[in-house]
C-alpha cells in the first residue's frame, strides 16, 4: 500500500498551469525528493497532497484511501512559508500545535521538551517566538511537524535559510526518521541534498514532470561520461578528440566526454603531458541531469 499516490493531478490558477498531469507514488519508509527550480510547481503539488487546495482533475490517495481531512493526523507537514504565533512561548506553542494534532496536553508538552533537547533549543523553551532567530523558529516548526509522530512527513524546502550546522542537524534528524521507517517527502531546489538523501525523485519543471523514478535507476539512464582530473603541468590534453567540453577550476578540471569516447585514451594522453594526481570517471550529477532534462531553461 502506497503512502502517497497521485494520479494525473492538475491545478490551474487563472491561466497559469501550476501542475500538469503529475503522478507519483511514495512507498512506506521511502525518502522521496520533489525537485524543481523556483516556481516549478512543487509547493502547489504539496498543497494538493495535504488538502490545502484541491486538484482540478486527477486523484490524491493517502495510505491507500482517497484523501480526507481525517488522514491529516497521520501526516506532518512543514510548509515553505514559515509562520508561528509570535506572541506565544515556544513550549506553549508546541503544546498547542500538538493538541491540535490529537495529543493530550501533558503528552504534547513532554514530547515538545524532548524534541527541544534533541535539537538543542531547550534553553529557549520559555521565550516568546518573536524573540528568537529565524533559524530557531525554523527548528520549532520542524518539531511541530514531528511532534505527533506522523507516518508521513512532508517538508517543503526544509533547509532553506538555515546555516550549515543547523541544516546538517536537521538532515541527520530526517535521516534518523527515515531509518525508523517513516516515509519522508521533501521538496528542494538543492539537487546535492537530494542526491545524498533520497531513494526516489520526481523532477518537475513548469508544472510538468521531466524525470521520475528511483535515484539509481534515474542516474543509470545517463552515461558515465564525466571525468575529473587533478594534475600539474601541461593542459594540452584538454584538446584531445575525446573531450566534448571542459571546465577548469583552481585545483582540477572537469571534462565531459564525447558520446562513445574512450576515457582510457584520454588518461594516457593526459599522463603523457602532465603529472596526474587524480583521475576519476563520474556519473552525471542530478543537477546536470536536470539541466539536460529541462533543456537548460530556468524560471524567472
Amino acid at each position: 500500500m502506497a503512502v502517497v499516490q497521485l494520479e494525473n493531478i492538475r491545478k490551474v490558477y487563472d491561466k497559469k498551469v501550476a501542475v500538469n498531469s503529475l503522478s507519483l507514488k511514495i512507498e512506506p519508509g521511502m525518502m522521496f525528493g520533489l525537485l524543481g527550480p523556483n516556481g516549478s510547481g512543487k509547493t502547489s503539488s504539496i498543497r494538493m497532497m495535504v488538502g490545502i487546495t484541491a486538484p482540478d482533475s486527477g486523484t490524491v490517495s493517502m495510505f491507500g484511501e482517497p484523501f480526507s481531512q481525517k488522514l491529516l493526523q497521520r501526516i506532518g507537514y512543514l510548509p515553505e512559508e514559515r509562520g508561528l504565533y509570535k506572541k506565544m512561548e515556544v513550549l506553549e506553542q508546541l503544546k498547542f500545535l500538538g493538541q491540535l494534532r490529537g495529543l493530550h496536553a501533558a503528552d504534547a508538552k513532554n514530547r515538545a521538551i524532548a524534541w527541544c533537547k534533541r535539537l538543542q533549543i531547550d534553553e529557549v523553551m520559555h521565550k516568546k517566538t518573536e524573540e528568537l532567530s529565524k533559524g530557531m523558529q525554523q527548528k520549532i516548526q520542524f518539531i511541530a511537524t514531528l511532534l505527533h509522530e506522523p507516518e508521513l512527513i512532508i517538508m517543503d524546502e526544509p533547509f532553506s535559510g538555515l546555516d550549515p550546522v543547523n541544516a546538517a542537524l536537521l538532515q541527520d534528524t530526517l535521516m534518523d526518521l527515515h531509518k525508523e521507517g517513516r516515509a519522508v517527502l521533501f521538496s528542494t531546489h538543492r539537487m546535492d541534498q537530494v542526491e545524498k538523501m533520497c531513494d526516489a525523485i520526481t523532477l518537475i519543471h513548469n508544472g510538468n514532470v521531466v524525470l521520475s523514478g528511483e535515484m539509481r535507476e534515474v542516474k543509470s539512464r545517463y552515461p558515465v561520461d564525466r571525468v575529473q582530473i587533478q594534475f600539474e603541468g601541461d593542459d594540452s590534453f584538454l584538446r584531445h578528440e575525446a573531450v566534448l567540453e571542459s571546465k577548469k577550476f583552481k585545483d582540477r578540471v572537469e571534462i565531459k566526454l564525447k558520446h562513445g569516447a574512450d576515457a582510457q585514451a584520454l588518461l594516457s594522453a593526459a599522463a603523457a603531458k602532465a603529472t596526474i594526481r587524480k583521475f576519476e570517471l563520474m556519473e552525471p550529477t542530478l543537477e546536470e541531469i536536470f539541466i539536460e532534462a529541462a533543456g537548460g531553461k530556468a524560471n524567472a
Binding site: R47, V50, G51, I52, T53, A54, Q69, L72, I75, Y77, P79, E81, R82, G83, L84, Y85, K86, K87, M88, F96, L97, Q99, L100, R101, Q141, A144
Partner: protein, 419 residues
Amino acid sequence: MRNMLLIAKREYLERVQTKAFVLSTVMIPIFFAGFMLIAALLTKKDMGTHHIAIVSSDANLASLVQKEIGTGTAGAAFNVDVVTPEPQTQQQLTAAVDAKKLDGFLILKSNAGDLTHAPGGTYYSSTATDLQMGMRLESAVRNAYVQERLKSFGVPAEDLNGLMKPADIELQSTRETAKSNSLATIFGAAGLMMLLYMTVLLHGVNVGRSIVEEKTSRVFEVMLSIIQPDDLLAGKILGVGSVGLTQIGIWLGTTGIVTALGVTTSAGGLGKVREAVLQMPAATFVAFALCYLLGFIYYSSVAAMLASMVNSEQEMQQMNMFVVMPMAACMAFVYPVILHPDAWYSVALSLFPPTAPLIMLLRVAMHMPSLLELSIALGLMLLAIYVVIWLSSRIYRVGILMYGKRPNLPEILRWIRYS
C-alpha cells in the same frame, strides 16, 4: 469541535492576558464616566443663577411672568427684574448685558387687544442661540397670560395652580399584563443597541484583524494542514468574540453591583431604567441576550469573511464599512420601528439577518413579538451565520494563497468553487 475550542482558547487567552485588555477594560468606563461627570458639572454650572430683566408696560403680566420663570426649573435659580419701559431702557439694558451685569432682557409686546393670542416679545442676550432660555420664556409668558385671562373670567386663584399642571398619561399595552415603563424600556433597548454597535466596532472587527494578522504572519498554512478552515474561523470568532463579551460582562457586572449597592442615585432617568429592568419579564431578558449574542456572532462572521479577501489591515479598514453599514442603517429605522413595531417594514427588518439583531432588540423592547416571528428570526440568523462562516472558510482557504490586488466578485466566486 475539540480543535475549534482549542483555537478559541488560544485566541481568548492571547488577548485577555495583554496589558492592553486590562487597560481598556479599566480605562474605557473611567473615560466615559469622566466625560459624563464633566458634562454634568458643566450643566450644573449652566444651571446657576440667571439674572434677567422683563420690560413691559403691563406690570401685572410682567409680575406673573416673573413668578412663572422660576417655576419647575430644578437646579436653576432666576433673579428677574421687572422694568417699566423708558426711551433709554433698551440701551441701558444692552450696556448691562455687555458689562455682564445682566444675562439678558425680555421686551414684552402687547397683544394689542387680540385676546386669541398671548403677547410676544424679544429676548436680548449676548448670544441668540440660548434655545433653552427661549423655550422657558415662551412657556412662562403663555402660562402667565392664561392665568391672567382665567382670573379675568373669575376663576378662583386656588384653582389656577391645578388647572395649569400638565395631565399625567400612562402608556400601557393591551397585550401585556405587567405594568411597564415604556420610556425606560425604549432607553434600555436603545442602550443595548448601542452596546452591540460598540462591541462589534471594538471586538467584532478584531476577528477580521486576527485573520489578516494570521495571513501576514503566514501561520495559516500550518493551521490549514491540521484543521478544517471552518473550525479555524469558528474558533476565532468564538475566541475573539468572547474577549469582547468578557469585557462587556465585566462592565455590566460592575455596573450591576454598583447599582445594587445603591452607589448611584435612583432618582431621575437612571432610576427609571433600573426600575424597568428589574420589572422586565425573564423572556425579554432571554430575547435581548439572544439578539445580542447572535448579532455579535453574525457581524463578526461577516468581518471574518471580508478579512479573508484582503491582504493588509489598511484594506481591512476599507472593508469594515460593509460591517458597519447595515448597523448604521438600522439607526435610521429606530424611530419608525418605535412608533409602529408591528408594521410590515418593522417585521421585515427584524427578520432580515443583517438588520435583525438590532431591530428585533427594539421590537422586543416595545412588546414581545409572537413566538413564530421570534422562531423565524432565530432560524434565519442561525442559517445566515452558518452560510457566512461556510463562505468565509472557502474564501479564506484560497484567499490566503493569493497575493497582490484585491479580488473582484467573479474571482471570489471562482475561489469558492476552487475549494
